[in-house]
Amino acid sequence: MKEPKKQQNIKKLRNKDDCQMITVSVKVAAYLRRLKGCSDGKTELDLFPGSRVKDVLKDLSALPGEIGLIILNGRAADLQGLLNDGDNLELYQIFGGG
């Protein structure tokens, strides 16, 4: 039957060893070093193809509204930004006054 085969294929894709993952470098400023794995101010993440910036934020355990500025490959981006292999992401916390 067709359906079980489909499920098998989907299961296969979710397995990191079988899937062509993408690697994204993340740089964070100041207080964002408390994010998962970012104590040096940077980290590298292996993500599923089709991942977006918001998935990175979830992986890093960022809080809602915490990230003020997102720079993807030198350009301002938002949470929906689509990620590709080798991308450089910079994250800054929100700041408005002082």
Binding site: Y31, G65, L69, L79, G98
Partner: protein
């Protein structure tokens, strides 16, 4: 029985060496609540229009609020106000630290100072007792020393002191007032006003706790903040880094003022950012009852000079003003410049922006080494900045011209140099580029006391759904993100009204939403819990609105018109470098938005004057009799 406030206002006449105690009605406190509103009320009623701000005729007011002194976080602030030596209009400046709460403990809600003492004096207010004492031995003393000497002399280690330094004594036009050596009523030159009255300091102490209506309600807010401030990233960043964390963010955003606001990005930013400065922190200087403790102390290891950590560590504004905006990336020089500014009592923003103006003039050949006492004003040698600050504070040589601020200096220089002076109404702009933030641009042009980055929440808070859902703005009727400048007037009006309320109440913008973590609900509970007033956010916003309108009418009486609600020439020139390269204010859009602002405020869009119906709705139509006189 009053809760939250003493019901007493101290009025001192330095010329006659007399004082009296005024006891306004409960209705006065209910309607005006504190800070800017108290100040505007008394300046309208008791100051003659047209006086010279540095003459004995000016009136200097220190106003706490119905909340100040209560044991709750983020409400330590008090307002200093007078006719401003910088703008000639309503002047105000707020500070944190501990002086405001201690004033309340001494038995008074505000102090109003008239006249001029025959020779230098200080005031000592202790548990309701008032003394005017000789300050000859304090005149000339640096700021931190004054508090030390007074504690000894008065044999009272509990006093809190507001004081001026040499800058105020010499009436540097933008001299400031400090308490605890690093909490400044920075802007608008009230240090000069104090100096012009021969008033060196005001020491306050007392044993009177603020009377609380509902202790438990107040405790609830304190408990909540204590439980969460370390984990919430907004308060935690302030707790760990302080405001300097902003340097990296604003650099990445392309809005870090560089070279007298010509650019928004500075190549040396990483040498002066929050990460670098954090390594020099040796302590925190919390304001009264606040665990967030955003203010820090720093020490340096430098063979060229040392720094007294009592003067704190530079805030974001100071780092940008003495750093990127002057092309300086030597952090130790910036820390030393901050120390000198606090020691002598001069505003780091106005000092830096005036020097930046002179630097650009020097680079363009409008000033030469002959004019600048031989100092190379490119600051290729950053340490030369320290010489200049000494000269400004002492009004020495070229420092005497710099001490007048960039607009007055530009008028002296002529040659169209006024286009290079980054100011509104004669007061230098703070370190937030209006070309990058349209709401801030509107705010700068219309702010009653001159351009003030803390008079209006910035554009960034309204920009994404996530932010407005988490920072409280949805409860102020903002349901969708706003990015189009044409749609920003509502944000300018409501935001400015909210932060006007915060200035009235002495609330810290860093502790309460949208910039801080404490919600409007908790603020309402706090006001109710402290004062017993039957209030809510609608009523409190009206308090904020009332204060703006009072101050606006003061300016109307002093002759201000819509012509004064404008941006400097720089706002219409494109940002040269950085992510926002090319950005500038659209003249037509700005003019349209400004008209819309007047309309939404209930002011005549042709004259900028509040309609009578607006004043009536705020119960302040009594102002009209004073204007028409």
């Amino acid at each position: 029985m009053s809760y939250g406030y003493n019901g007493k206002i101290l009025k001192i006449n330095l010329t006659e060496k007399k004082y009296e105690i005024s006891t306004p009605s409960d209705l006065f406190y209910r309607r005006y609540m504190g800070g800017r509103a108290f100040a505007a009320y008394y300046l309208l009623k008791e100051l003659e229009p047209g006086v010279d701000p540095l003459s004995p005729d000016n009136i200097l007011i220190f106003a706490a609020s119905v909340l100040t002194g209560a044991p709750a976080p983020g409400i330590p602030r008090f307002t200093v106000a007078a006719k401003s030596p910088m703008t000639g209009g309503f002047g105000e400046s707020e500070a944190g630290g501990s002086w405001g709460p201690q004033l309340k403990r001494s038995g008074f809600d505000a102090v109003i100072i008239k006249g001029k003492a025959a020779s230098p004096v200080y005031l000592y207010i202790n548990d309701g007792e008032v003394k005017i004492k000789d300050a000859g031995h304090l005149w000339g003393q640096p700021v931190a020393m004054v508090e030390t000497l007074l504690k000894e002399e008065l044999n009272n280690p509990k006093i809190k002191v507001v004081t001026i330094g040499i800058g105020g004594e010499k009436q540097v036009r933008y001299a400031c007032i400090l308490n605890e050596a690093s909490s400044a009523n920075g802007r608008n030159g009230f240090g000069a006003v104090m100096g012009s009255k021969n008033l060196k300091a005001i020491a306050v102490s007392g044993t009177k706790s603020v009377n609380l209506f509902d202790k438990e309600a107040v405790k609830d807010v304190s408990k909540w903040v204590a439980s969460i401030y370390r984990d919430n990233p907004i308060s935690a960043t302030l707790n760990e880094y302080g405001t300097p964390a902003a340097i990296a963010v604003l650099q990445a955003s392309g809005m870090l003022p560089t070279d007298n606001f010509s650019s928004g990005a500075f190549s040396g930013y990483d040498k002066i950012d929050g990460d670098t400065l954090k390594k020099k922190y040796v302590g925190k200087k919390p304001c009264y009852a606040c665990p967030i403790a955003c203010k820090k102390q720093a020490e340096i290891d430098d063979e060229r000079f040392s720094v007294d950590s009592v003067y704190g560590s530079p805030e974001y504004e100071t780092i940008a003003s003495f750093g990127s905006n002057l092309g300086i990336s030597d952090l130790n020089v910036i820390i030393k410049a901050n120390e000198l500014s606090n020691k002598y009592g001069i505003d780091t923003i106005s000092t830096g922006v005036t020097i930046a103006f002179a630097r650009e003039c020097f680079i363009n050949g409008l000033l030469s080494k002959e004019d600048t006492d031989g100092i190379d004003f490119t600051f290729a040698e950053p340490i030369d900045l320290l010489k200049v600050i000494e000269k400004v504070a002492h009004r020495d040589g070229f420092g005497n011209l710099l001490a007048e601020g960039c607009l007055r200096l530009a008028r002296k220089l002529g040659n169209n140099s006024e286009d290079l002076a980054v100011q509104c109404k004669g007061l230098e702009l703070p370190m937030h580029d209006p070309r990058a933030k349209f709401i801030v641009a509107l705010g700068y042009a219309v702010a009653v006391a001159g351009p003030d980055h803390m008079s209006i929440p910035h554009d960034v808070f309204y920009e994404t759904q996530e932010r407005i859902n988490n920072n409280g703005l949805d409860s102020l009727s903002f349901y969708e993100p706003i990015t189009d400048p044409a749609k920003k007037v509502k944000a300018a009006v409501y935001g400015q009204t909210l932060w006007s309320l915060y200035n009235v109440l002495g609330v810290c913008d860093f502790a309460y939403q949208p910039r801080g973590i404490i919600s409007f609900d908790k603020l309402v509970n706090l006001v109710k819990g402290i004062t017993g007033f039957n209030t809510n956010m609608f009523d409190l916003m009206e308090v904020g609105r009332r204060a703006i309108n009072l101050a606006r009418m003061f300016n109307v009486r002093e002759g201000f018109t819509t012509k004064d609600d404008k941006l400097p020439a720089m706002a219409y020139k494109p940002i040269k470098e950085g992510r926002l390269k090319g950005a500038k204010i659209d003249k037509k859009q700005f003019a349209e938005s400004l008209k819309e602002y007047y309309q939404l405020m209930g002011w005549n869009p042709e004259t900028g004057v509040p309609y009578t119906s607006t004043l009536k709705a705020l119960d302040i139509e009594w102002v009209l009799e004073l204007i028409n006189k």
